[in-house]
């Protein structure tokens, strides 16, 4: 994989993720409808999986999450910007850990049972660990020490909400894996086409997020 193309891909997918967090995520928060589980199990996980399929590159998803997290943080409207940003970055790290072993890579998974199971596991763990990660790290940003009792208190609710994220993950992964392998041609496009297209999409996403 050419480094320049990979870097452009990280920025591109991270920006799309950031845009979805700042638009769909904010709307779901506003109507108080399962914002966290939907954003994690459907959009966050889905985008990371698509990027893993297309680029076949470890570490890329952590970079995407970092870009999406930074854009979320600088979005002028919304709920807890710092907690959302931290949760997104945590999700990127957790994705990399879950999908580290090459035998679990998308192209190696053949049976539907395996796809659904891995989708459920990913959706559940991304949500739970992302949420707890943000609960642990956010207080540090205001020089407070995270309170273990507080985290234990919210654990039942987090484990409960994660069920929706898990179910969405169980649908998202098999759906993403229906994308034909031939779509990897996008990544193999000529530089003269690849860079302008990815730059324009990235620019539009960042423009909408910051405006």
């Amino acid at each position: 994989m050419e480094k320049g193309k990979l870097f452009a891909g990280i920025i591109l997918f991270g920006s799309v993720w950031g845009l979805l967090e700042c638009s769909v995520g904010d709307y779901l928060h506003e109507i108080n409808f399962l914002a966290g589980p939907i954003m994690t199990g459907l959009f966050g996980f889905g985008l990371m999986m698509v990027a893993r399929m297309l680029y076949q590159q470890q570490g890329m998803q952590m970079g995407m999450a970092l870009v999406a997290g930074v854009l979320r943080y600088f979005h002028p409207i919304g709920g807890c910007l710092i907690c959302s940003a931290i949760a997104i970055v945590c999700e990127g790290v957790i994705f990399e850990i879950i999908w580290y072993h090459s035998s679990l890579w998308p192209d190696k998974m053949k049976s539907m049972r395996m796809k659904i199971s891995m989708g459920i596991i990913s959706g559940y763990l991304l949500y739970v660990l992302g949420y707890i990660g943000s609960q642990l790290i956010t207080p540090l940003t205001v020089t407070m020490i995270p309170n273990a009792g507080d985290i234990l208190g919210i654990l039942p609710r987090v484990l409960s909400d994660a069920t929706f994220s898990a179910l969405l993950g169980g649908i998202t992964l098999p759906a993403v894996l229906t994308i034909p392998a031939s779509t990897t041609y996008i990544v193999k496009m000529r530089k003269e086409v690849y860079y302008p297209i990815s730059s324009v999409i990235t620019f539009l996403c960042i423009f909408f997020i910051l405006s």
Binding site: I121, P156, R157, T163
Partner: protein, 136 residues
């Protein structure tokens, strides 16, 4: 092939296990919530206070678009000695809890909709459906 089957079986069992944890947690959360939502009272340090009475007795303060009564005023009205030496666990109906210091209580308000808003803390510390404040 055999190894793949083994991995597949472990993944399936783990996925079912996670869904079971989620289901049990959902049942727990919803039974806990019903119990807490009874009445129009808020419990502060083990004593029940009527929300309507509280709101008629204190001056309203504003944080951004929110209005409510200062948490420190609420605590000062109770029999708690040396409030600055304690920490305060604010608990929502769903069990969401945040523990803050006295300095934060002076920057936070309780709204009529039972929301706690802090001027000085990230929104992670804002709590909906507050049912209890425990003094530690």
């Amino acid at each position: 092939m055999g190894k793949n089957r083994g991995v597949e079986r472990i993944a399936s069992i783990f996925a079912i296990f996670l869904l079971l944890i989620g289901t049990v947690s959902t049942i727990y959360v919803y039974s806990f919530r019903e119990e807490k939502q009874a009445g129009n009272a808020i419990i502060i340090n083990g004593v029940e206070y009527d929300m309507n009475e509280i709101f008629s007795s204190f001056e309203k303060k504003y944080i951004n678009e929110f209005s409510g009564i200062l948490l420190s005023d609420l605590i000062n009205e109770t029999s708690i000695q040396s409030p600055e030496n304690h920490e305060y666990a604010i608990i929502g109906a769903d069990g969401y809890t945040k523990t803050v210091k006295w300095g934060d209580m002076k920057e936070g308000i309780l709204t009529n909709e039972r929301r706690v808003i802090f001027q000085n803390l990230p929104r992670q510390f804002w709590i909906r459906d507050v049912v209890k404040i425990e003094v530690k």
